[in-house]
């Protein structure tokens, strides 16, 4: 496999060869990376021609970190130092009792004053799920670099049902792995993208995604290149792992062993066996196996330990898990305002949908033979690659657009511990909404704001995302102050909250991270630590990144100037051009900070021009529509521009992370 064509060599040394954007499916059980090659998405294979990288990370005695199949091989012997299914721990609280159920690990309680995240003791080290995930992402990045030489930005997929903390943790892991995260993309939407583009199907679809550890159901409408998600639902702790666990319990029963008394190593061995039996039962009606505990535990034919599990028995074991997915499916259909028989197709995603019981259950429930002709384990990464390519400006299908939604309602706690919903679930992103509140007590000088996510009425039953206090309000009588809270959710599904007291103008903006996440300083420190281990040269990387960003901004600004010269005010063009020239000069130098400053200057110089361009885009979009509606007159289109121009006393967005 050493034939390197000469053009390949040229590519390596071609300084102008653009970095390639990649799509990553960071899965519970397996992860993979893909990119668009000759207009077709393809997965990157390792030296053994395998696309799937087991999402397993082993921390060795000598400080070495092993990822993938080699880590998997060490899991039985080192159950505590080998983290599997780390995705289940992402964004969870260190004190969350649910996390203890999820593996044989040595958990470390968070110290007072540190972030409330899960911590694993692995040998002499303590690592967080974000760091473990970053190891997986780093492996994938290297794999892609071997093939592409230079990797640009990355789209990383997340279950649609991931809450804010889980999304933020995923983005942090990407940063920690040295990736520029272009976008977090919902897995079902990615899958639909892979199907929709290749088959050119319009219609109503459900995406049934049963992965290793998560279940998602998404209802979406494909129409002329727009993928509009109507509703999404699921369970972020339900998947193939649960099938393995149900099978493992059956194995313990068959061998007469007590699962409770098993050592972590034994549990791991039985779980691995369970997974192999599950795979075997995809094609076979019965799988025979030897007892993992040797002859002692059972009554096999020749005094040995031959046991077997039939597919019928496995179907029985799986049935309760499928019933759990059913409730989520019915709710998603209801939220979308659709009946199962209106659907044009059901797309299967995730390795667990290979299980025959799952396929027949889906066919029965939706009355529709499911679509599975794209490998259900690759389809998400392929879709992510398409989206990465589009975001990098290289896609040919310019009119493709993904309109995703917020999976769980967002709100704040008000009097009596009740949740006031500000953005309900299934609101299309990006989203922004405001709510106004007042003080309940005289002379109250601070507002405590508790941000929660979930569908329950009481804040205590929802996921707590952040608490902060707006301080410095002068004492007033109860009911006099007017607090305006703005929620914004970006296209990644990440929330930021802004609070402002109207009378005094006191205001505060937070990116919602603190409750279960790592703050920016911690992530930055982790990055530095990784560098200390002799991995990469942070300064050089930073300079390279900021140069790419600067060139991109300069090029795009020139394009905007050329596209709408009539929107420029006198003198504005020369001011912007001067800022571009300054920026280009800075790119020639080696001072990253200086380049950043010049980007900011150019940003300031183009602010109002950008607003005018956006208003023109709006007017054009509406006029285009008005042509086919008689009632809609040109007057309306004109009115729009004014409405949008004055609509925006939305507070400034927080600095993007």
């Amino acid at each position: 496999m050493s034939q390197v064509p000469s053009s390949g060599l040229l590519e390596i040394f071609d300084p102008k060869a653009p970095p390639k954007a990649i799509g990553i499916d960071l899965g519970t059980t397996n992860s993979l990376v893909a990119y668009v090659k000759n207009e077709r998405p393809t997965t990157v294979k390792d030296c053994d021609q395998a696309a799937l990288l087991p999402s397993v990370v082993h921390y060795g005695d000598a400080g070495e970190v092993v990822v993938g199949r080699n880590a998997q091989l060490r899991a039985a012997e080192h159950p505590r130092e080998t983290i599997v299914s780390v995705k289940r721990f992402m964004g969870r609280g260190g004190d969350d009792p649910e996390t203890r159920r999820l593996g044989p690990y040595a958990f470390v309680a968070p110290e007072a004053g540190t972030a409330n995240v899960v911590r694993f003791a692995v040998g002499r080290k303590v690592v967080t799920p974000v760091e473990v995930s970053a190891e997986i992402l780093r492996s994938l990045r290297r794999l892609a670099e071997d093939e592409l030489r230079s990797v640009g930005g990355a789209v990383i997929t997340v279950p649609a049902y991931f809450d804010d903390a889980q999304r933020q943790a995923t983005k942090d892991a990407g940063r920690l792995a040295g990736l520029e995260v272009l976008r977090l993309l919902n897995e079902p939407t990615a899958a639909a993208l892979a199907y929709g583009l290749e088959k050119k199907q319009n219609g109503k679809f459900a995406v049934y995604d049963l992965g290793g550890g998560t279940f998602d159901i998404t209802i979406l409408v494909l129409d002329d290149g727009v993928f509009q998600v109507r509703s999404t639902g699921g369970d972020s702790a339900l998947g193939g792992d649960d099938m393995d666990r149900a099978l493992a319990e059956e194995i313990f029963r068959l061998t007469g062993r007590d699962a409770g008394g098993a050592t972590p190593g034994e549990v791991r061995v039985v779980l691995d066996l369970a997974r192999r039996i599950k795979h075997g039962l995809t094609d076979a009606m019965v799988v025979d196996f030897e007892s993992p505990f040797g002859a002692g535990g059972s009554r096999g034919a020749d005094g040995g330990a031959s046991l077997s599990i039939t597919r019928a028995r496995f179907d029985e074991l799986v049935e309760p898990l499928l019933a759990r997915t059913g409730a989520a499916c019915r709710r998603a259909l209801k939220d979308a305002g659709m009946k199962a028989d209106e659907l044009d197709g059901v797309i299967l995603v995730g390795g667990s949908t290979r299980v025959p019981a799952v396929r027949s259950w889906v066919a029965k429930t939706f009355g529709n033979e499911p679509l599975g002709d794209i490998d259900p384990e690759e389809v998400v990464a392929l879709g992510a690659a398409i989206q990465a390519n589009l975001l990098a400006g290289e896609g040919t299908a310019d009119d493709v657009l993904l309109l995703d939604v917020i999976p769980l309602s967002l709100g704040i706690e008000v009097g009596g511990g009740i949740v006031d919903r500000i953005l309900p679930r299934n609101t299309t992103t990006p989203a922004a909404a405001r709510a106004a509140y007042t003080t309940q007590e005289d002379k109250q000088t601070g507002f405590e704001i508790h941000v929660v996510q979930g569908e329950r009425e009481l804040a205590a039953d929802c996921r707590s995302l952040a608490r902060f206090t707006l301080k410095g309000i002068p004492p007033m009588a109860a009911g006099m102050a007017r607090l305006e809270v703005t929620f914004r959710v970006d296209a990644d599904g990440l929330l930021s909250v802004h609070a402002r007291e109207e009378r005094t103008g006191v205001e505060q903006t937070v990116s919602v991270k603190p409750s279960y996440g790592l703050d920016d300083d911690t992530v930055e420190q982790m990055l530095l630590d990784a560098i200390d281990h002799g991995e990469e040269d942070l300064a050089a990387r930073k300079l390279a990144e900021v140069r790419v960003e600067a060139s991109r901004v300069a090029a795009s600004t020139k394009k905007s100037l050329a596209a709408d010269p009539d929107l420029l005010e006198p003198g504005e063009a020369s001011r912007i051009e001067a800022a571009i020239a300054d920026l280009e000069k800075a790119i020639g130098g080696a001072d990253a900070r200086r380049i950043e400053l010049k980007i900011e200057d150019l940003d300031a110089a183009t602010k109002t021009f950008a607003g005018r361009r956006m208003n023109r885009a709006i007017a054009q979009a509406i006029e285009g529509q008005a042509l086919d509606t008689v009632e809609r007159s040109v007057e309306h289109a004109k009115g729009i521009e004014a409405a949008h121009a004055e609509s925006g006393p939305l507070p400034p967005a927080p600095p993007s992370g």
Binding site: A392, S556, M614, A643
Partner: protein, 186 residues
Amino acid sequence: MDPFATLGAPRRFDLDLSALEKTHRELSRALHPDKFAQAGASERRAALEKAANVNEAWRALRDPIRRAEALFQAEGLAVGETHEPKASPAFLMAVMEEREALSEARAARDLAKVKTLGAGIASRAKTAESRLTAGFAGGSPSKDELATLLPLLGELRFYRRFLDEVEAIEEEAEEAALARANEVSS
């Protein structure tokens, strides 16, 4: 923010929602942040903000209650339960009776009765909506007209809560029936 102006829709209650959905889609195509991934920060920020406004406007207009609220707000009236006049005693009385009937039907597991009560309220909600349609059909209503229309908002909110409850009862019954069917089959 006036959602009618944001989406270029006429200020009336009976909107052509499928045409408006198309407008929303075209605006999203023009403004979605993904379309500006390669742009400078100022354009990305502007696009994000406008796209969020457009989404919020569409969310408001496709919901009859929020659409009605926006119509009153556009006429300079404050809406929300604390700002609107109190409901008439006659309405409150009628409402209380319906509620009681619903809880009795729920307790008696009388699903047919629950459905009948729901259908009755749904038709009253329709009547209220058609009064709003008529009221806002010919441009700005007069002050007096607005005053007679405003209580319809409170009524619509009540009807919605009632219908939500009907739906919850029906769902509960369906889930229970499914659970029983599963027990039998396994």
